[in-house]
Symmetry: C2
Subunit: 239 residues, 2 copies
């Protein structure tokens, strides 16, 4: 029952990959998977004016601890676009589930992040781009679905020199069809220290998680379902 | 012989469009076409660390003169990616045609620009995104071809809330199959003042064109073929 977007492709010797690393749990797991698959990993984080800026410090710790050969933190201000609770501080982060696409959706975010990864991958000569998109235990974002990843792969191979004249690009989203608990079990098996990661949409200045936002809820449920102690530092006891 | 990407779609009353405006001849013409088609136009320019930074001043003059309702100049540094004569000053701009994709190709540039336009369009509630891509008298860039535009339109409608739940997006590239002379004739008919535009990849500090790069050559040939006096300010007489 594997699908192209879930089956992790092993690297050939020396093959490079750009891995999008947000500082969260999912992308840390993806970096560990890419390394295990044999890729020389180049970690890319985007400073997009996010509310949870402290996650970029988490991204640095993760890239270092999981052996990325380089880690770039690139500024791409999305606050001028707005329209999201993550980039516009006048929009509150919800602390209960809502139907439909939530206000934490950031217009065109994964499209932009993959596009930056694509540009860097082309200059590095990297064949693969990894992203922690997940279609099961996720927040309902349109740009986390397999059809989005497939469309981006098609685009990447039309948009670039390497796509037309060279070996092309693969977009790997190996978490796409995993439950959060399976993601956590995978990462623990690969030695990911989830205490380094930050998932919360609304952490305090010291990086402590709110325990109430979508990201916190999915994360806590994942640890519980996996039967693994949750190493997250919360702002206060969960009610 | 029209194709979807060449046929300019008229706006319904009040319909908005985001128009990518570089400061060059093509995108100025596209802005004039979008306005003539009835769109409320929002001009977007990207400050990507380009060698020809002075073109952003041209973009401002053009957006103002052609009645854009707003004009945003957004920083998106691509010099860290490098790999192009336009973003890496250690790579020279060629002054004679070369076979294949030239070194002025900027990896993932139009993908990134369209992605930024997409994010803004979604927040504005704009249905249409205009880009001056052209597949005939162009420099051989992969991301100026109709198949690229079609793939981006597919992606845009999978990546976004407006694509899934709303009216979707159209990517309009009305110059795609025009010769440079036809583009110039179109713009002159619509009142574009091409003296405001800057096409050169390597202008001097005052915005005078080199007359030798790909962009200068295509532009000069276009004016000659159109039988229209070339208003470009050159650095010196063309040899």
């Amino acid at each position: 029952m594997t699908r192209p977007d879930t089956e992790l492709r092993k690297a050939t010797p020396g093959e490079k990959a750009v891995v999008l690393v947000s500082g969260g749990l999912d992308s840390a797991t993806v970096l560990a998977l890419a390394r295990e698959a044999g890729y020389a990993c180049y970690a890319l984080s985007i400073d997009y004016g996010q509310r949870h800026h402290i996650e970029l410090e988490a991204a640095q710790r993760i890239a270092r601890s999981l052996g990325a050969l380089a880690h770039r933190v690139i500024p791409l201000d999305l606050s001028w676009i707005g329209g999201s609770a993550l980039t516009d501080r006048t929009i509150a982060v919800p602390n209960a589930p809502v139907p439909g696409i939530p206000v934490t959706y950031v217009p065109a975010r994964n499209t932009l992040f993959l596009s930056l990864a694509l540009g860097w991958a082309e200059v590095l000569g990297a064949s693969d781009i990894f992203i922690g998109a997940n279609a099961l235990d996720y927040s309902g974002y349109p740009d986390c679905r397999p059809e989005f990843i497939e469309a981006f792969a098609l685009l990447a191979n039309l948009a670039t020199r390497q796509g037309i004249e060279g070996p092309g690009f693969r977009i790997q989203a190996p978490l796409m069809r995993l439950r959060k608990a399976e993601i956590i079990q995978t990462g623990v098996r690969l030695g990911v220290d989830y205490a380094l990661t930050l998932s919360c949409y609304d952490p305090d200045d010291r990086g402590a998680a709110c325990g109430r936002c979508d990201a916190c809820r999915l994360r806590a449920q994942g640890f519980a379902a996996a039967g693994i102690a949750d190493p997250t530092h919360y702002q206060s006891k969960l009610s």
